[in-house]
Symmetry: C2
Subunit: 341 residues, 2 copies
């Protein structure tokens, strides 16, 4: 395994792609919403609401049918397609599809980089977040959770754990050698959106609806979406041609991991995990799931980036300064698996 | 005025642009967040939260600093730029930038159409919505409002007013000759997101920050964003080279309309307004504001589409079946104002 990974690393530069600055030519781009359901709310009083200062009052009857739990998906289809299947990008907790767009310090993110590599990319906002919208409080039993500016800095291995963030940049305790664009951390916090903690079922249902609509495909998912991605792959194994799990914080059901035995799977982890209070346990969840896939006769490659000489990566690999290098490593793996023309 | 408008209509077909099916070549595409502020919340208990079923519990201290009221902006810069300035698209109430993307029935929306016409397009989600996220309840004094499936059908002049929507499509009372893609109305309702009614100040501040970042520019705004667009133009008149107000439901401060006297302004309304219970008054707000611009020596063209032979438009002109025809009318006006190379 180690030898293979070094060869991946060394040959990554040979991968054909267009570069930042070159134009991006798309045969199509657009968006849609998928999935969701209609719920009825009843027994509430009619309200009169003025929408916007100076607006004309409108009667709003909150009783009735509501569209909820749909998911927003934006797609970009390069003219020079090389990926054999669509590449679906699923973001992590408290975030949206913006995760894969321009990095907080203004470089190209994985959306652009994988379009440039010739992939049809479908980038989505999980149910409850971003352009997917969220349901009335009567529908979900629970409230949204909000993250402080400090929270991701301390949990995402940008800083040195709890207490490492500081409003004064000079006092921040950044992991030594971090590839995260720390000077743009404030911009990153603008990407954070509220999240619920009891909506997994709705989120998974919408992702499954997306798979039913656009796959066969390759899934690339991050962090919280580890749970969603592996679970959907268990439910739709024939539709998934490969899985790239980027620092999955959650995995699927080990008892069902055998359903992934025909799906080549790559699991990628960044740096600083042994220094963190939670990540050793979280990585173990992913390693155990990968073992379960292999035990069932499947193929699951695990890359700890520092082991192959790629150091300094935070949990947010797709926006770290070496995001292009990590994208190339993933692309090389996809090439090796025969998924690129 | 009438004669000019007919000439706009008749010559619209002569406007150069690429067509659906042709590739879209971009010299760049990406996104960023702009504006916002940091607020402090204090005195709340620490919670233990499990993020995702099977996740490792994390202590979440809700006290601390929060990033709030930033705005998400996505941009697409065509290789063959013809618009002299960036074109900023601002959506209406209860919606996001998805308004301007693929229509609910799968045709190209104004985002693609204006990119094809050579405009650098910046499409945003207003503060509180979509990928902009929303603030903790302690920050905004008020709750989000949710729209039923029926509400936009009855308020946006798709149906014949209150009571016109029905879960059974055969029983819907659609405006006769409607250009709205009624068969895809359910898809449209998936675009709806919750909205607050007391966040105008924060929304305007973020739009002003966007103008400061990317303008001089042309503003194109819809419905609720009438209030935001005209207000920001009043505050930054030197930065705005033209305004296209699409069915503004709100206007600016008439006493300040003179600040727009050097900004060519087009106001466009669709069909069925006299039949609606609220739209005659809402249109009057826009007409009065346009009068105030002219009284101050400025230029404000008002187009009621049925008067120039374009019939059947709902409030959602950018997704009606003739959205290309309305886009061409706007483009012709922009050409006439010297804003296209």
């Amino acid at each position: 395994m180690r030898k293979t990974l070094f060869s991946i690393l060394l040959s990554a530069a040979a991968i054909q792609s267009t570069f930042a600055g070159d134009p991006i030519t798309l045969r199509d781009m657009g968006s849609f919403h998928v999935g969701g359901r209609v719920v009825e709310i009843s027994g509430k009083p009619v309200k009169e609401v003025v929408f916007g200062a100076g607006g004309v009052p409108a009667k709003v009857d909150p009783n009735g049918l509501y569209q909820v739990e749909q998911m927003y998906v934006q797609y970009f289809l390069p003219q020079n397609r090389k990926g054999k299947y669509p590449l679906l990008m699923w973001h992590g907790g408290g975030l949206t599809g913006a995760t894969y767009e321009t990095t907080p310090d203004g470089r190209e993110g994985w959306l652009n980089l994988f379009i440039r590599k010739g992939w049809d990319v479908y980038n989505s906002d999980a149910v409850e977040r971003g352009r997917s919208g969220f349901a009335p409080p009567d529908v979900w039993n629970g409230e949204p959770n909000f993250l402080t500016k400090a929270n991701p800095f301390e949990r995402f291995r940008i800083g040195q754990g709890l207490g490492s963030w500081n409003a004064d940049p000079a006092k921040m305790k950044v992991n030594v050698g971090s590839q995260f664009p720390v000077d743009a951390y404030d911009n990153f916090t603008k990407q954070i959106v509220p999240r619920w903690i009891n909506t997994d079922e709705a989120i998974i249902a919408a992702y499954a609806a997306l798979v039913d609509k656009v796959c066969p495909c390759v899934l690339l998912f991050h962090s919280q979406a580890g749970g969603f991605g592996f679970t959907v792959a268990q439910a739709r194994p024939d539709k998934i041609k490969a899985i790239v799990a980027v620092e999955p914080a959650v995995a699927g059901d080990k008892a069902q991991a055998g359903r992934l035995k025909d799906i080549p799977t790559l699991v990628v982890y960044g740096d600083y995990i042994p220094l963190d209070s939670r990540w050793p346990r979280m990585r173990q969840i992913g390693l155990d799931y990968a073992d379960a896939i292999r035990t069932a006769g499947g193929s699951a490659d695990v890359v700890n980036l520092p082991d192959v000489g790629i150091k300094g990566n935070s949990h947010m690999l797709m926006m770290d300064k070496n995001n292009g290098q990590v994208a190339d490593l993933i692309q090389k793996w996809l090439v090796d698996k025969g998924l690129v023309d």
